[in-house]
């Protein structure tokens, strides 16, 4: 097992390098040549060259990329064009807010979706099933930022229960979390239901019933553990989507997280900040994906056996 984890960690390296290169290349196109805008209109060619060197913009794309990775390994993401602050510092300052939002969202979404999905599957075609499926469909079809606006409209402006934005206290996180979590909960409910329906058809449940296992245990013990396997596999992708969704929620609710950082930086064409934030976030996603894969291996002995061989 340890060898497998080590192997997976090693396999992570080319993916991370690829991700970093992709983002770096895209942002390089986006940047154009920022030296002119920083140097001002009346700079001499010599001044511009000196500035280019100082900003680390000399050399080919590959050279700059290698330099960037070298700095990254030292924990240096460069300096913001606008605020002149250390990008890594700013990122780490914003990250806890985003993680707080993402974690709460995922916990609530999973806590709601799995019981709902199971009930819907067990009572297939009942009123409960239809209701949860219609709700899930609506949740899935609603753009999250619009949902955020509606939530502000009702719960902040009309009812005054929650603040319209900011990050003070628990009450300010509730609406952003619902905004990000609704589509996730909807998707998870649907996945749980279809996975459970699939498991409910399996022969081994018939074996369990023939053994005299009570219906409750057939569902909770025998079926659930098998149904969870495909749900875990989509978890990694969903974490990525939650981080994506929080970009919008953070904009709507002025939540000072990584998403806001990126959007503001793009507005200001602050390339080092955008590149740094994207690279770091993607690395986070990749590592979470690895963790999910490992959990997956522990839940499903068949996968575990493949790995330990």
């Amino acid at each position: 097992m340890y060898r497998y984890i080590l192997k997976r960690l090693l396999m992570l390296i080319p993916v991370l390098l690829g991700v970093a290169f992709l983002i770096f290349a895209i942002m390089d196109v986006a940047a154009g040549d920022p030296v002119y805008s920083v140097a001002g209109a009346d700079a001499t060619p010599e001044q511009i060259e000196a500035l280019r060197e100082k900003m680390g913009l000399n050399g080919s794309l590959i050279e700059r990329y290698i330099r960037y990775i070298g700095n990254l390994l030292k924990g240096d993401l460069g300096t913001s064009y606008i605020s002149k602050l250390d990008v890594m510092k700013v990122y780490l300052q914003r990250l806890p807010n985003t993680l707080k939002l993402a974690t709460l969202t995922m916990i609530v979404a999973v806590g709601m979706a799995i019981p709902l999905g199971i009930t819907a599957a067990v009572h297939q075609n009942s009123i409960r099933d239809t209701t949860s499926m219609v709700l899930a469909l609506i949740g899935l079809s609603m753009p999250n930022f619009w949902l955020g606006l509606l939530l502000i409209l009702f719960f902040s402006l009309k009812l005054g229960w929650f603040p319209t934005g900011g990050s003070e206290g628990f009450r300010s996180i509730v609406l952003p979390a619902i905004t990000v979590g609704t589509s996730l909960a909807a998707l998870l409910t649907r996945t749980t239901r279809s996975s459970m329906l699939d498991v409910l058809r399996q022969d081994y449940l018939r074996t369990a019933r023939a053994k005299g296992v009570s219906e409750r245990n057939v569902i909770q013990k025998h079926a659930l553990r098998n149904a969870l396997i495909p749900i875990i596999t989509i978890f990694g992708v969903q974490f990525s989507n939650v981080l994506g969704g929080s970009v919008l929620a953070e904009t709507v609710f002025a939540w000072p997280g990584v998403g806001r950082l990126v959007v503001d930086a793009i507005d200001q064409r602050d390339i080092p900040t955008v590149t740094g934030a994207l690279v770091m976030t993607t690395m986070l996603v990749t590592i979470v994906n690895l963790l999910v894969d490992l959990v997956y291996a522990f839940v499903d002995p068949r996968i575990k056996a493949q790995y330990t061989k």
Partner: protein
């Protein structure tokens, strides 16, 4: 029937009917069958795909999925205990304890995420209220009984071959020493030599535990080896039943004859096979008369009009065929 015989009665079914109400119509899987089975006896339930064999077994376990399955029955008793009127929680005490079932496909019959030891121990915990440690111990005993070293109790199903899995399934079924064992094509999915091993094992254990058994199969060879009595099913009805000798040596029903004639004769390799013509009837649209009439070589007008009832030919031998209205009638098959 004497009192002694009545006490010996393990299974008593009267007029069992099962239908599945689906989008595409009502599938009439079982259409009024009676079955009785005495202690220590083994009944072979023979028929082809769609004859209603598995549904019959599921109905005995009260495991026909509802919806879409609807079960109607006049009487369903296991050792004199009425199973029909039992509520679900009482049924759980019967399943795995008084009646057990072995399923056709060992590849899918075991839960992939639990160890085989846990899966055997589970029924012991439920029915004999053993602690999990004692149950584990007994599960190990059961594994040894079916010829698997007890050390393998901590392994998962995917680590076992097909034959080994079927042994595990048998261990689960026999763990609580049931009075009646329903075996649904237990060897069909296995290789010939493994098939022989498993049949042998089942015969051995049946003797040892005085278990009565219903062996569901399409393989007449298997029946010859394991069963005392035989019931031949076609389109949800029993068309012929009797002792093993009755059905094999004094065959009465044209369908049974057709089954025998379809098999290659190992003694005479040049003999031409005489298959039954045509196909099984559509279970959503069964003919009014005898379901076998369209494929039967002896068909007459009377066969198309009414459903033939089972009639006794001897004390043990019964057949459902209108042709026997004529006392002269006999089928071609003769056993030397």
């Amino acid at each position: 029937m004497t009192n002694q015989e009545a006490n010996d009665l393990i299974l008593d079914i009267k007029n069992l009917k099962v239908r599945y109400e689906t989008q595409d119509g009502i599938v009439r899987a079982v259409n009024g069958i009676d079955l009785t089975l005495r202690k220590k006896r083994t009944l072979g339930l023979v028929g082809e795909t769609g004859a209603g064999k598995t549904t019959t077994a599921l109905a005995i376990m009260r495991l026909v999925p509802d919806p879409p399955g609807i079960v109607e029955c006049d009487k369903l008793e296991i050792s004199g205990q009425d199973i029909l009127s039992l509520p679900e929680n009482k049924l759980e005490h019967v399943r795995g304890n008084d009646i057990s079932m072995i399923f056709q496909d060992p590849m899918t019959a075991l839960n992939p995420v639990f160890t085989v030891g846990d899966q055997i121990a589970e029924s012991l915990e439920i029915h004999e209220h053993l602690s999990s440690k004692d149950a584990k111990e007994r599960a190990g005993d059961m594994l040894e009984l079916v010829g698997i070293p007890r050390e393998r109790a901590n392994e998962y199903p995917h680590q076992f071959s097909g034959g080994m899995k079927q042994r595990v399934v048998i261990a689960i079924a026999l763990a609580c020493n049931p009075q009646l064992l329903l075996a649904d094509e237990p060897t069909t999915a296995l290789d010939v030599t493994i098939q022989a091993q498993v049949l042998e094992l089942m015969n051995e254990l049946k003797e040892k535990y005085d278990t009565s058994m219903i062996m569901i199969t399409h393989d007449l060879g298997c029946v010859a080896e394991v069963c005392d009595e035989v019931a031949v099913m076609y389109a949800g009805r029993i068309v012929e039943e009797g002792t093993l000798e009755d059905v094999f040596n004094r065959t009465l029903h044209p369908y049974t004859e057709g089954l025998f004639n379809s098999l290659p004769n190992i003694k005479d390799r040049k003999a031409k096979l005489k298959p039954i013509k045509g196909l099984m009837p559509d279970p959503t649209n069964l003919p009014v008369g005898c379901s076998f009439a369209p494929r039967c070589n002896y068909v007459s007008d009377a066969c198309l009009k009414a459903q033939p009832q089972l009639r006794s030919i001897s004390q043990t031998h019964r057949v459902a065929c209108t042709a026997y209205d004529n006392p002269e009638f006999h089928i071609e098959r003769r056993i030397l």
